[in-house]
C-alpha cells in the first residue's frame, strides 16, 4: 500500500515541480523583453566612456598632436601593435636636436586593449575612444595610421576607418572622468 502511495506521490510532486517551472516561463512569455535592438538604437546607444574601442591620437585644429615621439608606447606594447616612426629635427630657435613624429602606426587587429600605452604616455597624446564599429573586409585596413607628417604639416587622421566614424558616436564621447 505504501509503495503505491509513493508511486502516486511521486507523480504528484513531479507534476507540481513541472507546473512551477512552466509557471515561470509562462510569466516570462508575457513580460516585456530585454532585448536591445542594436542597429535600430544606434542613435541612442550609450557606450560606457571607459570602454576601449580604438586607439586614437587627438589633433588640434592645426593638425598637431601632443606626441613627442618618445617611443615609450612602442616599447611597452606587448604585441608590437604600435610603430612610431620618428626623425631627428633641429629646432630652428634653439638649435637643439629634437625628435619629431613622422608616422604613427597602430594595428587594431593586434591590440589587446591593455591600456599600457595610454598609461605610459608622458604627454597624454593617445587615448582610447569608444568606437566599436570596426569590422572590415580587408585586413590591411586594421593597420591604421594615426598620424602622418606630410611636407612639414601633419595631416589629420587619415585612414578611412577613422574618417568614417559615425558622428552619432562621436558626440557621446566625453572626457575621461578620471
Amino acid at each position: 500500500m505504501e509503495n503505491k502511495k509513493t508511486y502516486l506521490g511521486k507523480i504528484a510532486s513531479a507534476i507540481e515541480s513541472l507546473a512551477t517551472g512552466m509557471g515561470i516561463t509562462g510569466k516570462e512569455f508575457f513580460t516585456p523583453k530585454v532585448t536591445e535592438c542594436y542597429p535600430e538604437n544606434r542613435d541612442t546607444l550609450y557606450i560606457f566612456d571607459r570602454f576601449k574601442g580604438v586607439l586614437e591620437m587627438p589633433h588640434d585644429e592645426n593638425g598637431n598632436s601632443k606626441c613627442i615621439a618618445c617611443g615609450m608606447c612602442q616599447t611597452v606594447c606587448p604585441n608590437d601593435a604600435i610603430v612610431v616612426d620618428s626623425e631627428m629635427v633641429e629646432d630652428e630657435a634653439s638649435g637643439k636636436k629634437k625628435k619629431q613624429l613622422v608616422k604613427y602606426e597602430y594595428d587594431l587587429g593586434s591590440c589587446m586593449y591593455c591600456n599600457l600605452c595610454v598609461e605610459i604616455c608622458p604627454t597624454d597624446a593617445i587615448r582610447f575612444n569608444t568606437g566599436f564599429e570596426n569590422a572590415v573586409f580587408d585586413r590591411s585596413l586594421l593597420n591604421m595610421t594615426l598620424h602622418v607628417a606630410k611636407a612639414g604639416t601633419a595631416k589629420k587622421e587619415e585612414t578611412s576607418v577613422l574618417a568614417d566614424k559615425p558622428e552619432a558616436l562621436e558626440k557621446k564621447e566625453k572626457p575621461d572622468q578620471k
Binding site: 604585441n79 587587429g109 566599436f132 585586413r139
Partner: protein, 213 residues
Amino acid sequence: MEVGKTKKKELVKIKSIPYKDFKNNDYLEEMVRELHENGVNVVVGALDEAINWGRGNSLWPLTFATSCCGIEFMSVGAARYDMARFGLEVARASPRQADFIMVAGTITDKMAPVLKRLYDQMADPKYVIAVGGCTISGGPFKHSYHVVKGIDQILPVDVFIPGCPPRPEAMLYGMMQLQRKVKLQRFFGDVNKKEVSEKEYEERMKRDMTANS
C-alpha cells in the same frame, strides 16, 4: 575613398544603418565592379538578387568557439543582443548545416587542422568571420610558439572583427558586414566559390573519413 564618394550609389541596404556609415565600402564597390566586368545576364541577375536576398538574410552560424570571444558570441545569441533578430540564431552544431563560421577565439597550431577540416566539412556557399585579435593576428599571443598568427593563413576570411574580445554590438556589426557582402555576390557562376576542385575535394573528404570518425 574619394572615388567611392563620387559614386554615391547605395549598393546594398541594411536596415537602420545608412550605407555611408559602413566601413570599407570601397571593397564592396570594387567587388561589384569586378562582377560587372565579367558581364551578367539580366535574367540571371534578377534571380541572383532574389537568391542573394535569401542567402543574406539566412546565415546560420556554426557553434564554434575556442575562448573568450566565444563567451561574447554567446552573449550575442542571448536575450540582450539577440542575434535572432537577424535570423542568425539557428546556430548549427553540425558544420554540414552551417553557412558561416565565426572563428571566435585563439586558433592554435593543434587546432588549425581541425578548424580547416570543419571549414571543409561545411556545405557551399560558406563564409568565415574572424573574431577578435587572436584570429586576426594572433592577438595577445602573437609571439607564442603555438598560436596561428591570423587565420587568414589557413582560411579565406570574409570579415574581420577587431576587439579583444569585440563587444556584442561589434559582432552584430560584423555580421551585418557579412550580410552586405553576401547580398552583393553572385550565386550563379563561380565567383563565390573560392573552393578547391572536385577531385581534391573528394580526396579531402576521404582523408576526413579515414582520419577520424
